[in-house]
Symmetry: D2
Subunit: 154 residues, 4 copies
Amino acid sequence: MPKLLVSKWLNTHDEISVAKLRGNVVLVYVFQMLCPACILHSIPQANKIHQMFAPQKLQVLGLHSVFEHHDAMKEHSLRAFMHEFKVKFPVGIDKESIRRKGTIPQTMEKYAMQGTPTLLIYDKNGELKFQEFGHMDDLELGFILGTLISEAVS
Amino acid sequence: MPKLLVSKWLNTHDEISVAKLRGNVVLVYVFQMLCPACILHSIPQANKIHQMFAPQKLQVLGLHSVFEHHDAMKEHSLRAFMHEFKVKFPVGIDKESIRRKGTIPQTMEKYAMQGTPTLLIYDKNGELKFQEFGHMDDLELGFILGTLISEAVS
Amino acid sequence: MPKLLVSKWLNTHDEISVAKLRGNVVLVYVFQMLCPACILHSIPQANKIHQMFAPQKLQVLGLHSVFEHHDAMKEHSLRAFMHEFKVKFPVGIDKESIRRKGTIPQTMEKYAMQGTPTLLIYDKNGELKFQEFGHMDDLELGFILGTLISEAVS
Amino acid sequence: MPKLLVSKWLNTHDEISVAKLRGNVVLVYVFQMLCPACILHSIPQANKIHQMFAPQKLQVLGLHSVFEHHDAMKEHSLRAFMHEFKVKFPVGIDKESIRRKGTIPQTMEKYAMQGTPTLLIYDKNGELKFQEFGHMDDLELGFILGTLISEAVS
């Protein structure tokens, strides 16, 4: 299960919990709402996967990891963004750094991410199988999802 | 010359004035920073025209006309957006409505625009020749620009 | 194993045989060299899959099924097409109809295909799992390939 | 007027003559039917211009200049190609070289073209203003057309 350090979840009434995701392949799209590659490529791909693979034991999540322009990407702005770009899957807000406010948030630091977009892919047992910086090609991603969903839970 | 009701210009030290634009074809891209069609199509086209036609007696301007999600699209957010999307041409902030705050801004109302993106094209004499809601095709727009730039100032 | 009725194989020195393909997922791109959707979408996708998934127990094949403009799509034309479009996987020429020359070729008729492009996908046991007329989305196709390659040979 | 050395015109009942084109801006798309960049970019652009600018004193022409795979691109193949790709403007067949058959055709040699696609643009007086190898951007091409159509015939 993804160890995401999240201050708040949007687009969901439930806690995103270990119990809930167990047995599902989990995709986490780490993004910033004002990151061009995220808007042009990752969010459309995430929306598409969320729609196509809903019944396939696959859960798409977003993680809003703000590491620059913090004032321009607060929760109310993120909500407006998600409304305009029709993001329907749960999105967590990456916890702000305690030591150094206005810098890299906690999950982003923990995973040593290089920036956004970053894609995290977990298998049904909650093990992180892929962490990729930049956009992943549809064919390659589809192949990974087909492979991971075919695996049995151990 | 465009009669734009602007509270502040960004990306320019000068006032955008009649005298300055006289003799130039002027393109005004009216947008909202969280409008998907603006981000996907209009801003890239505006950037491209700004780069391609700089020496051609053509001036590209932006007008940020916020008619929804006002809190998410204030000046500091717009500045972050312009930095991330590499917008280098002058952008004016459409004046807020006096009577009814948080609704349609003044230039947008004056021109009876239907939404964003809207493109305003003025000839060298400052006369509004085209007002188009939605994205305009590159071939058609290039043709209009070639035609208007070929005209003499009257 | 695909029951393809082929008069000649190009791009391969070997016979494309049951023994050879057994244990592989097999994709057959049925196309005509002058079919716009084949050129714009299917051949590029086939080339990409051929390059990406070579080591993955996956075999890409082409089948040239000419059902119109027969004179314009003979073997020497097909060879020029394959050279120009960098088709590197084996391509079979669908056998001409015996009864009615210049009409629908034998494999196309046998499978009751509606036209080109058509994609045939076989699992590792040689069973036809998908027959799709028109272009298949990259995400969906990647998912199918990941699923089929994960299956054991029975 | 373009000095095109053409053995036969397709898609037109008239001779393409000086008198007919005088006063029109003339675009000549030089292509080979099995040239990938021609199929992917030039023919679609030519079709679009032919449809958009018909009433604008603009004539789109094609020139089929075969310099390789001659057997695969004879007239009957070209006709099938034009049918499939919905080419509705007149297309001339570049005259075969007399001295060296199966090499570069006469117009292509005369203009010292580097390959296909090549775009020739003539003003209303029949003067060649642009000769560009490779695909020309829509915005730039639209701009050139708008400029040339605005010129008076001298």
